[in-house]
């Protein structure tokens, strides 16, 4: 079986849903003729035609609003933000129109808004952001951040089939760097379920997105000195898998919260509160956070390298916590 890259997995997931369900269509800037800035929609225009693969003007708010309208009429739009950073331009449509329809008047808005997020490619402050928390803070949305090709495909399918708005953040650093063999059946990954990436007994690292690879690499290093990491990949942030979080804490009694997003208002803060409210008596040490510092994502390689959480950070904090 050939290996499927993360980016190809997203493409396959959308493609298969479009084959199966005529209500599904994609819209966004340069998604048609060009096949998307990162080629997520490559070949779709030829297969599905210009009314299911719609090249739009540079109008993020318009794109999402249009998607909402079509969704209210029973369609299943998948809107692309060329970079996740530009989702800020559609903030109001997402957080007010899409997010509050079901709660107020019972109308589901089955849209997917997806786009490449994350750093590590020298994109600078406007092509590297992790904007997930703006949306995690908004009741009425779902937010997912796949880390593997399997999850990328399974979650995009779940997002398209979901009756409510799903914000799907793919990590551009992973697009062509991670690949795996995918099953040929029609699988989905349920929204709201975490996955254990490594079973361990000493310290739990709870993370998501590209940072799972940092945690796994750190685990390999720490293994040599007898420290056994347990790595939990959240996959979904809203809703998140509360039960899996508690189980993993109860298992190791020590926890590191790791994400690429900045620290203040990052997901780690929320998790720390949940853990101390619901599993305080299981903790044998302080809850530790490893995140990006509270700055924009800088461009110059030494600055960006400093900004992004590293394997060495996880190794250092794990040692401290192990000794605690």
């Amino acid at each position: 079986m050939p290996l499927t890259t993360y980016v190809e997995a997203i493409r396959q997931g959308i493609w298969e849903e479009m084959e199966k369900d005529e209500r599904v269509f994609v819209l966004g800037e340069d998604v048609g003729i060009y096949g998307g800035a990162f080629k997520v929609t490559a070949g779709m225009l030829e297969r599905f035609g210009e009314w299911r693969v719609i090249d739009t003007p540079i109008s993020e708010s318009g794109i999402v609003g249009t998607a909402i309208g079509a969704a209210l009429m029973g369609m299943r739009p998948v809107a692309e933000m060329q970079f996740a950073d530009f989702i800020s331009c559609a903030f109001d449509q997402i957080t007010n129109f899409a997010a509050k329809c079901r709660y107020r008047w019972g109308a589901g808005v089955p849209i997917v808004v997806r786009g490449p997020s994350g750093g590590g490619v020298h994109g600078g402050p406007f092509h590297s952001q992790n904007p997930e928390m703006y949306f995690v803070h908004t009741p009425g949305l779902k937010v997912v951040c796949p880390a593997t090709a399997y999850d990328a495909k399974g979650l995009i399918k779940a997002a398209i089939r979901d009756p409510d708005p799903v914000i799907y953040f793919e990590h551009k650093f992973l697009y062509r760097r991670v690949k795996e063999e995918l099953p040929s059946d029609d699988f989905v990954v349920p929204i709201g379920k975490a996955a254990i990436r490594r079973n361990g007994t000493d310290i739990t690292v709870i993370t998501y997105g590209a940072m799972i690879y940092i945690a796994l690499e750190a685990a390999k290093e720490l293994e040599k000195e007898g420290i056994d990491l347990h790595v939990l990949d959240l996959r979904s942030l809203l809703p998140f898998d509360n039960e899996a979080v508690l189980e993993s804490v109860k298992k190791t009694n020590k926890v590191i919260l790791l994400h690429e997003d900045t620290q203040i208002g990052g997901f780690a803060g929320e998790l720390a509160a949940v853990i101390s409210e619901q599993a305080f008596e299981y903790l044998d040490g302080p809850i530790r956070r490893i995140t990006a510092p509270n700055t924009p994502v800088p461009y110059s390689p030494p600055l960006e390298e400093f900004f992004l959480p590293k394997v060495s950070d996880v190794v250092r904090v794990a040692r401290e916590l192990y000794a605690y």
Binding site: P57, I58, S59, H122, T295, P301
Partner: protein, 334 residues
Amino acid sequence: MKSNTLTRDAASPVILPPEKTLLDMLYYMKLTRELEFRIERKLYRQGKIVGGVYVGRGQEAIAVGSCVDLRRDDVVCPSHRDMGAYLIRGMSLRTILAQYMARKTGATRGKDGNMHMGDLSKGLIAFVSMLGDNVPVATGIALSFKTRGQDRVTLCFFGDGATSRGDWHEGINMASVFKVPVVFICNNNQYAYSTPLERQMAVENIADRAEAYGLPGEIVDGNDILAVWDAATRAIQRARAGGGPTLIECKTFRMTGHSAHDDAGYVPPELFEFWEERDPISRFERFLMDRGFIDKSGIDELQRRINHEIDEAIQIAEKDPFPEPEDCLKDVYY
């Protein structure tokens, strides 16, 4: 208000700028072209510039023609294909090259890359990627001039695609309601990444949009630097005199892919050929030679001087240090 369509082949407005300005125009256009050539075709390909690179090849007349006569205390909000604006406003080649090469000596000290640079002391407002965001900001800059009784103006640049953003419309409308001294300049290069103009908007001209907001809209041949200069000069004078904003649409063409990694395979080759013949620099060179302002050897000499200036700046910038990793933490307040 009807936008006046202007088609002219030879570059010859009624009033010519003085000789020094004409020669400055040629210098800055050629400097822009050569600098961006080095950036895109040399330094980027050599891996000395990482990330994205966007150039304005074929569009040099627009920034140069509209900025060349600005006052020092005026303010420019460039977009991503307006290198000439930085050069004319006095940002040094070394600062620009160090910016592209992510050095500590660059305009943003490595915090940001490529044309995302500014310098308040030179009246240059740093562009953010979100297209059209600079339009209401330019309106605010002009508002500050008006309310404080200053006769300064601001120039605001954007592409055709950016005019699809809500911020663009909000900013233009507010400028017109407030009648503030701003000149909006569109680089209409007919493509936004892979998206052709007719997929961007249902009106024929960007300038047609002016009517809806009650400000004058004018169309010029963006590859004719004298036409750009003429329109910009009139709009700047009007703004300075309290006459309010103007929208100038410069028709041009993007002679490259969207960025250094885009081969523009979606652009019909005939279009490149058509616009190559209308290259703003060779056209202006012919004009200056015909009028006796410069001769062939003068042009060659100018090119040598430019090459030399850029060679020197590259040598210095390449030796400039990268920022210290901890510089990441500077300039945020916490």
